[in-house]
């Protein structure tokens, strides 16, 4: 049975990478369509009219948008190599940490990039506070998913390459090896897993991109 799976992404979107990782971990074949967000394709606008963003997963002509919604869809559709635990309470706990990543970790890191002065300091502080909680959660585990990568690792995986990129761009330390030994070890372990490693966007291009984003944002202030 031929299943048509397509992923709409950009070369650098950390959200789209989540979808790529989930599909690759489950060994699902798909076609990749790269979007230029300054010139969105009619197909993207048709498949994600509400947010007009990547990633979008197309499965047998049906579109699904929002990376975390897509991850749950992939998990519901292809049940082998599960990314979530079976036990309902553990599943709820996994979803809690995924949401924590979205609501607390990501905005703090993003604002550290986009803000300056006091606002940037506060965002940086908030990021460090959020890392403390992640460090706690990793106690007794190699990965958030335990012995194997799970959905929490995938959802937080952007930390594993973007943190060092942003540390370079901002000349600001986020995850100090001594302050966050477990989180640092997790980042190294995660980044080196073959399925993950093969898909990292080129680092120098990322540095250039985020420098440009910061400069553009500072210029508008």
């Amino acid at each position: 049975m031929g299943e048509e799976v397509k992923v709409f992404r950009t070369w650098s979107s950390p959200f789209a990478l989540r979808v790529v990782w989930a599909l690759d971990l489950k060994g699902i074949k798909y076609e990749t369509i790269y979007e230029d967000l300054s010139n969105k394709s009619p197909l993207l606008l048709q498949y994600n009219p509400i947010h007009k963003k990547v990633p979008v997963l197309l499965h047998n002509s049906k579109p699904i948008a929002e990376s975390l919604v897509i991850l749950e869809y992939i998990e519901d559709t292809w049940k082998h190599r599960p990314l979530l635990p079976q036990d309902p309470h553990q599943r709820a706990n996994a979803r809690f940490w995924i949401k924590f990543g979205e609501d607390k970790v990501f905005p703090a890191v993003r604002d550290s990039l986009l803000k300056q002065g006091k606002e940037q300091e506060e965002a940086h502080e908030a990021a460090l506070e959020s890392f403390k909680l992640l460090e706690e959660e990793l106690k007794g585990k190699k990965l958030f998913g335990g012995e194997e990568i799970g959905m929490v690792d995938i959802a937080l995986g952007w930390l594993a390459n973007l943190v060092s990129v942003l540390e370079e761009v901002l000349v600001l330390k986020f995850i100090d090896e001594h302050k966050f030994p477990l989180l640092s070890a997790w980042m190294r372990l995660f980044a080196d897993i073959p399925v993950i490693k093969q898909s990292w966007p080129p680092r120098d291009k990322l540095v250039t991109k985020y420098i440009a984003i910061r400069e553009a944002r500072l210029a508008t202030n």
């Binding site: 929002e66 975390l68 869809y73 519901d76 809690f96």
Partner: protein, 219 residues
């Protein structure tokens, strides 16, 4: 062996109400414990140490936090009755997408409508109406967001309906006028026992907001 189910909640919270509605839909007996958020109980701090917020569901001693995560948990554990999420993966994804949309979009502008004034309030009102129109578009001609059955998206959004009176009063507009189909959906949902028993009276909510504005010194 009986299940022990406790809900830590605040009567006016549209997020807590989602859990109440889900529990009622499934016919689950539970103990409701009203929380004072200005004087947080040791139980709340123990069960939700990260966010220290309500709602928290405690099932046989184990806590679950975040309203939509709790609703999914309830659906998974008590799966033999009144399914809240569809079984088809694509329909489930659509339900998750729209519940996520409600979660991301509705609260903040709604709050600004009663908590701010002038230009900030006007902008929030415009944004709020736009968001409601998008949701009304998604509802279309269906009786519920889930289609024929009341479900996840309905639960995620209907709890805001007891706050509509607050938004209309402070924003000086009529949601019925702007989104008549949405109001028809609200009325349909309010006929369900799970909804009318779980949502407080809208006048009580309005009184509460007057009180909040006074104690926070918001004019």
């Amino acid at each position: 062996m009986a299940d022990e189910v406790i809900l830590l909640d605040l009567w006016s919270s549209m997020f807590g109400m989602r859990v109440r509605v889900a529990l009622a839909e499934k016919g689950i007996e539970y103990e409701y414990k009203e929380q004072d958020l200005r004087n947080k109980s040791p139980l709340l701090l123990e069960m939700n140490p990260i966010h220290k917020k309500i709602p928290v569901l405690i099932h046989n001693g184990k806590p679950i936090c975040e309203s939509l995560i709790i609703v999914q948990y309830i659906d998974e554990v008590w799966h033999h009755k009144a399914p809240l999420l569809p079984s088809d993966p694509y329909q489930r994804a659509q339900a998750r997408f729209w519940a996520d949309y409600v979660d991301k979009k509705v609260y903040a502008p709604g709050r600004k409508i009663w908590a701010t004034k002038g230009d900030e309030q006007e902008e929030a009102k415009k944004e709020f109406i736009e968001i409601l129109k998008v949701l009304e578009g998604e509802l279309g001609e269906k009786p519920y967001f889930g289609g024929e059955s009341f479900g996840f998206v309905d639960i995620s959004f209907v709890t805001f309906s007891c706050w509509f009176h607050v938004y209309e009063t402070f924003g000086n507009f009529s949601i019925e006028k702007e989104c008549p189909k949405l109001m028809a959906w609200v009325k349909r949902c309010q006929e369900r026992e799970s909804v009318f028993k779980s949502l407080p009276d809208e006048k009580k909510v309005l009184e509460f907001v007057y009180f909040l504005k006074k104690i926070f010194g918001i004019e």
